[in-house]
Amino acid sequence: MEKVYLCKATDLEANQVKKIENNKFGDIAVYNLGGQFYATADLCTHATASLAEGDIEDDMIVCPVHWGMFHIPSGEAQGFPCESDLQTYPVEVVGDEVFAVIDVNENIIAKA
């Protein structure tokens, strides 16, 4: 297990998403859904796109390129063109700091 620092909780407003660069595990998207924080891989599983540039609609992230959707809490792909689920990471909030908890054994580096 590795704890990866993402951002300060106060730096991410409600219903916003932010991309955190990470060379080891691949870039991470961190979300604030009404005060609850989530983290997923930032790269869309369909084509090259940073999900952090997409729009949040309820608890979905809409990819900015082909508008495919993933369920943020579960990473579940919602249908064509997004058919492979998105990697999600458990989140820990310690004080004002938001971390992703990444299982080093499971998470090989995402394709760049």
């Binding site: 084509a47 090259t48 796109a49 729009d55 390129v65 082909h66 508008w67």
Partner: protein, 449 residues
Amino acid sequence: MSNIIKTLDATDCLEGIESVCDIESGRISGKIFYDQKIYEQELEKVFARCWLFVGHDSQIKKTGDYITTTMGEDEVIVIRQKSGGVKVLLNACPHRGNKVCFSESGSTRGFICNYHGWSFNVEGNLTGQHESGIYEDSNFDKSKWGLKEVAKVASYKGLIFATFDPESPSLEEYLGPMTWYLDALFDNQEGGTEFVGGCIRSTYECNWKIAAENFVGDILHAGWTHDSAARAMLGGAVSKVSDFEESYSVNWNGHGYEFALDTVGNVAVLGDSQLNKYLHTIKPSVAERLGDFRSNMIGSVSSCTIFPNFSFLAGQNTVRIWQPRGPNKIELFTWVVVNKSASQDIKDRWRKGAMMTFSPTGVFEMDDGENWEYCTKTAKGKVTAKQDLYIGLGMDSYLEDTDLPGNVYKGQLNEANSRAYYQRWQDLLQSKSWADVPNRNKGKAEVEK
């Protein structure tokens, strides 16, 4: 980003084009309404060069709001930017050319091509594709392959115009003093205007010029062509235009506005007294804003065309584009314009009134369509097309001594604007560049304050 459009190389002018109109003698030839070669030249030398009306600010209020229309036969998307500006983009994917937007209007994040999944954002920039890996392996530079942007976009009082030609004069210079007259409809109240309802679309088997020219300066037809329609709407005949004490035909760069100063002659044909009343109610404030003269034009017997194919009627408040679809076919896009500050009831009355009169089933529109289709179809006959058509009314009616801006002619029963319209058309077809287009304006370019 290099999404700027490639412009056309000017082809040689069509042989014999100098003889199809002899404006000084007051004659044109029917050939100009039914000739494929002339039409091809028009797409290049008129529609790919002139400023064309593409929409109204009120149709695209927030970022990502768009409408689709055409500039000549070129399909375009008119879309509001984050910056507040407007872009006009070719509605064609730069991969295989497929159309990327199929709806008339909407609000969107961008456009995704159905063919290979190329995706474009509101700015028209290419943001990605399906199977993006293969593009990355091919060193594809996506910054070079966005939707192509037209050369220039500009607006006047909410009316958005665009041109494919980077060499065209500015919109301000192009419209010249016609803007002074446009204000009578488009800026007669604080807050300006908006389009109400949707776009009414129809087709006619007529040449685009015959329709545009009707609005540039032909009130002459109304008393005869529209007699029965007027009786249905008004319970009596159309105003006898020759009875008006004062009326004018004004033109500039081929644009033309013919008008009387009777305030409500046009609005009256909608058959709704509440609309007449509205214009009478706002008239004093219009006089304060624009002066007495133009306060008499807010719904008077009048019509206008901005060259080449944007027309409107103050009073009926119908605004339209005669979209060319070949030498003998047009697609007509019509909208209803109202003052933003008017009540919802007044806006609805105008929308309904315009539908009753100037829509595909409108009582006046049907009259016009029949005439225009046969003005076009007779020219299918080779011999008929060769014959002269008379366009010489009001030949000596130019007014030297007037304070009014533009080229001003006495009386609206006058073919001066029609002549100026066809002259401009012929000048453009005979000119390989804007520098070659003769300046035939002789009136005041600016309004004396």
